[in-house]
């Protein structure tokens, strides 16, 4: 048990590899597909369970690194010559994202049970490998290690889109790969620039992210590094105008791929901004604040307007992602304490609600093999359970009070309003919320309400037990965050205060200290 707690991050991160090994070694043949599904699901579920101690043990004194305040820190030399370390550690932000990853990973794998019938073995291998890459990104405290994980997940995702995707899957897959890679290589140059600057100042060769957050980098260098890192992260988020790969990838990817893409992969970009860009390059962030806000707001409005015009449900949800992530970025860049915390919470919310919406679209697609809105109508008459869940997730996505989306959006807007210069930008955010309500409710109306006039739709079955099981945790979380967000926000106060203090020192009073820490 002690061994487990001391290496918990490593174990959580690499646990899916166990599944990969089992699946590869399992006897060959189509008749074994069933058992392979079981292995993948069980490994993913276990992966979620072993990540739970991260939240229950989070504030235990022995897990807190006294110097940095990071939790569950593990360090070992990796490439001593260049100072790269195998260094893991998490704070509240990464902890929530890791739990979201293990949960959504399991749900995505569960959702593939009937959808994937070909090349089952490989499919689950890629998914579990993807899981390793994503978890590693959220855990790494060493920039070199971070980059390795950041790139590792490209290849499995490429195959998930390229092999099991829709008709234009090859185009979408390579577009996803090349766009992200372009950002990544520039990010690598940014990392190298930081690395050499750190060496010239301190004389130490190190990729330690926390040490880099302490650096005082001259403004012109900050600007260049910021631009390099910005491209890397903005393509991943994606921010307008780097978003064009996203609709293609989402539309072509299989359902589970879209779920993971929306819920987790995009969060790696926002996480990059929060963890790296803001604290390491605070002055450049503030210097570019105006254009960044403009891009975020364009993302919100443009994403919403384009979503409204879509005829394909999946494309609609994909563009709604662009809009929602604009919200996240607005909150993150303005970096007032409440807005930043709201932006981070909105990352989680988006993972829950958009992930669920992709599942919802996927379930219809699996039954009818079309995603065109015009092909549906009146489904609530024959699929009541499905209709209820769809409604909850629609409301969650548009920010209905009592559901999670409301809390995040409200905090972002409130936080933007706290900024004396840019307070009126909150208006654009509000417009985005109205538009969001418009396209989502309109979607719901056209698909679920009205007469059930298409003969093909008369006999659609309602949700199966397995499908319902996928939504239960998401609905619980949506209400939990909506009704009592304190559970989650408590973990965010400390890192958010640190980042705000770094980006906009002495401007805002810190968020109240955590009650949880007092024990």
């Amino acid at each position: 048990m002690r061994f487990f707690m001391e290496n918990i991050l490593t174990i959580v991160c690499f646990f899916p590899l166990l599944g990969v090994a089992l699946i590869i070694l399992w006897p060959k043949g189509k008749e074994h597909d069933e058992s392979i599904k079981w292995i993948a699901n069980i490994v993913a579920l276990l992966g979620f369970f072993i990540s739970l101690p991260l939240i229950t043990q989070f504030n235990k004194a022995q897990n807190i690194d006294s110097e940095t305040g990071m939790r569950f820190v593990f360090k070992a030399d990796w490439i001593p010559t260049i100072g790269a370390q195998y260094s893991f550690g998490i704070d509240g932000i990464s902890m929530l994202l890791i739990l979201l990853t293990t949960l959504m990973g399991f749900i995505a794998i569960l959702s593939s049970w009937t959808a994937i019938t070909e090349r089952v073995r490989e499919y689950y291998c890629y998914f579990l490998l993807l899981q390793v890459g994503m978890l590693g990104v959220f855990m790494a405290l060493d920039f070199f290690l971070f980059y390795v994980f950041w790139e590792v997940m490209l290849v499995p995702m490429y195959f998930i889109i390229g092999v099991w995707g829709g008709p234009r899957r090859l185009y979408a897959a390579i577009k996803f790969f090349l766009y992200t890679l372009t950002g990544s290589v520039l990010l690598l140059l940014g990392i190298l620039a930081l690395y050499f600057h750190q060496h010239s100042v301190t004389g130490v060769w190190s990729f330690d992210i926390l040490a880099m957050q302490q650096l005082d980098i001259p403004m012109d260098l900050q600007t260049w590094i910021f631009l390099a890192m910005f491209l890397g992260f903005a393509i991943k988020v994606p921010m307008f105008p780097f978003h064009t790969w996203l609709p293609d990838a989402h539309v072509e990817a299989p359902t589970a791929g879209s779920v993971i893409l929306a819920a987790i992969l995009l969060k790696m970009g926002t996480y990059g901004f929060v963890r790296l860009s803001l604290p390491i390059l605070p002055d450049a962030t503030m210097y570019f604040l105006y254009p960044l806000l403009v891009l975020s707001v364009i993302g919100i409005i443009y994403g919403a307007l384009v979503a409204m015009a879509q005829k394909d449900m999946k494309k609609l949800v994909a563009y709604s992602s662009v809009s929602h992530l604009g919200f996240c970025m607005l909150g993150i860049f303005i970096a007032t304490p409440v807005a930043l915390e709201g932006g981070i919470l909105q990352m989680i919310n988006h993972g829950i609600s958009t992930g669920a919406l992709f599942l919802i679209v996927g379930i219809l697609y699996e039954r009818r093999h079309t995603r065109m809105i015009a092909d549906f109508g009146g489904l609530s008459l024959i699929m009541p359970v499905y209709a209820t869940i769809f409604l909850i997730m629609t409301l969650s996505s548009i920010g209905m009070p009592t559901l999670n989306g409301f809390i995040g959006e409200f905090m972002v807007l409130q936080g933007v309003f706290a900024d004396s210069t840019y307070r009126l930008w909150a208006v654009w955010g509000a417009v985005g919320i109205v538009l969001g309500a418009a396209y989502m409710l309109w979607l719901y109306q056209r698909v679920m309400l009205g007469p059930l006039d298409k003969p093909e739709n008369q006999n659609l079955p309602d949700l199966s037990g397995r499908e319902l099981a996928m939504f239960v945790p998401l609905i619980i979380l949506a209400f939990w965050i909506g009704l009592y967000p304190k559970t989650f926000l408590d973990y965010l106060h400390e890192p958010v205060n640190q980042i705000v203090e770094r980006v906009r020192p002495n401007e805002f009073s810190p968020l109240p200290a955590q009650a949880a820490l007092k024990e």
Binding site: I79, P80, T81, I82, Y147, V148, E151, V152, L154, V155, Y158, F159, G162, V163, L170, I174, F177, L178, L181, T182, V185, L186, L188, L189, L192, A193, Y195, F196, H197, H199, S200
Partner: protein, 500 residues
């Protein structure tokens, strides 16, 4: 010139100095031995030649291993040295030669050109490379270069019945001889300037010469000739034709070993002799590297033949390796050496897969020949995927570590602000980094063919024990260098330290 001591006892002299060239002597003697017993070997048993060559390479490696501890400053009156740099490259050549021989013997049977001379020539070429890596005198350097080049010209044209192979050989020979001439001209100018052929003495003589036209002329002549040997743009025109026409195993050998040997002398000459006048060539070399990387990658996109595609990709890789030279620091030498080491394994692995696809009546060279490989031979397709990802520079594979080091070497100079032409260096790194994206585009054309297209050509692949050994070794090292690079970095670092 230092006064030569009289050689009192030739045998003693040779035994003393001969240790330094022991590994080379092994290769030459085994090669000659193979030629002598050739007539005894029946026609259908010529495969023995390959095992003979493997024996020679292993003996040579054993000797090299014995010498590993004892570095020698110089032997044969300053003709040849056995420093860590030479040892590192000798090891590289032996590994490349071993893997090439192992992938050859079945392949040459498929091509119906199994002859023992082939293996003898590989041994001679390898010994030439080893002389190049150890040479600290212009004479021994040039002799090594020619020994390697002439053996390689012959090997390229070894498929006598193939018009393509003959054309490739002739083209390579004519252009190669021309470039050797240019290098020789550069050398003669250096000799004229310094009155010596020893690299250290030349360096001492030309150290004071700034803005000397003859020195600059000699520098650029050597650079042009060496750029031809490493296949840098604009001296790359022979590469696609020669690589396409040559027997595939020889293409593989050329793309790693011959390139590495040319880089070995490139690095040594430029660091020992021209380090003082670095300012005069950094800019040109940076532009050459930039153009080489870009053109190699862009031209590879349009290729329909895997050998031509990999040929262009190897041009691009030469550009990446050149970046270490552009940096012009100890770190830069280490980066180039590290890149060559990683490149040896990942590239030989990719070529080994290409060789496997060559079977009766099927050239295995068109991109369509890869269609559906995964469904028939999943392990092979996954290996090829690993080699391609590594060549593209995706972590955590050897190619990423290699690219990391060349990028870092150039940025190191930028941040130290000591080097000349800083802005071109920044551009070089940015262009090189963006080229990674281009390279993924064409490597993934083959990945798509292997993993996503389904029509598979129904003929058994030409597997052999040797090829499987090659695939296992290259596969393991490609992954190992990526995940645990430290011991390999130490090797490359020792090599770079001994040079400067």
């Amino acid at each position: 010139m230092p006064e030569l001591p009289p050689i009192s006892n030739p045998l003693e002299f040779f035994l003393l100095n001969g240790r330094a060239i022991g590994p080379q002597l092994h290769l030459i003697l085994w090669g000659l031995g193979l030629l002598c017993i050739d007539f005894l070997i029946p026609k259908d048993k010529r495969r023995i030649g390959a095992f003979f060559a493997v024996g020679g390479i292993l003996m040579s490696s054993l000797h090299l291993y014995r010498l590993w501890g004892e570095r020698m400053a110089s032997a044969f009156y300053g003709m040849i040295t056995l420093d860590s740099f030479a040892l590192f490259f000798n090891l590289l050549f032996l590994v490349a030669a071993l893997l090439s021989v192992l992938m050859s013997y079945r392949y040459m049977e498929v091509e119906e050109e199994q002859r023992t001379e082939y293996y003898a020539l590989i041994l001679f070429a390898t010994s030439g490379m080893m002389f190049m890596a150890g040479a600290i005198d212009l004479i021994s350097l040039f002799i090594g270069l020619e020994l390697m080049s002439i053996s390689t010209y012959l090997l390229v044209g070894f498929l006598r019945k193939s018009q393509r192979s003959n054309e490739a050989s002739l083209k390579y020979f004519l252009l190669g001889a021309f470039s050797s001439g240019i290098i020789l001209y550069g050398m003669s100018l250096l000799y004229g300037l310094s009155g010596s052929t020893n690299l250290d003495e030349i360096a001492a003589q030309v150290a004071g010469l700034q803005d000397n036209t003859l020195l600059t002329l000699s520098l650029f002549m050597m650079m042009a000739g060496l750029c031809f040997k490493i296949a840098a743009v604009p001296f790359h025109m022979w590469v696609p034709d020669a690589y396409e026409g040559a027997p595939t195993a020889i293409t593989a050998f050329m793309s790693v070993a011959v390139k590495a040997a040319a880089f070995a002398i490139f690095l040594r000459i430029f660091f020992v002799v021209f380090s003082e006048v670095r300012e005069s060539y950094t800019f040109v070399l940076a532009v050459v590297a930039m153009v080489t990387i870009t053109w190699g990658n862009v031209a590879a996109i349009a290729q329909q033949n895997i050998k031509r595609l990999l040929a262009y990709s190897s041009i691009a890789h030469a550009g990446f390796i050149l970046m270490g030279l552009v940096a012009g620091t100890e770190f830069g030498v280490m980066a180039s050496s590290m890149y060559l080491l990683a490149y040896t394994f990942m590239n030989l692995g990719a070529w080994a897969v290409v060789i496997l696809l060559r079977r009766q009546d099927i050239s295995g060279e068109r991109l369509e020949d890869f269609d559906g490989l995964f469904f028939k031979h999943p392990a092979l397709a996954i290996l090829m995927l690993i080699f391609f990802l590594s060549l593209a520079g995706i972590p955590p594979l050897a190619g990423f570590i290699a690219k990391y080091f060349v990028f870092a070497a150039v940025l190191d100079v930028v941040f130290a602000d000591a080097g000349p032409a800083t802005s071109i260096l920044v551009w070089l790194v940015v262009v090189a980094a963006l080229n990674v994206v281009v390279s993924v585009f064409y490597y993934f054309r083959i990945v798509v063919a292997m993993f996503i297209k389904k029509d598979y050509l129904p003929a058994p692949l030409s597997f052999s024990v040797g090829l499987i050994v090659v695939l296992v070794i290259t596969g393991i090292l490609t992954v190992l260098i990526g995940i645990y690079p430290q011991p390999f970095i130490d090797l490359a670092r020792a090599a770079s330290e001994s040079l400067i």
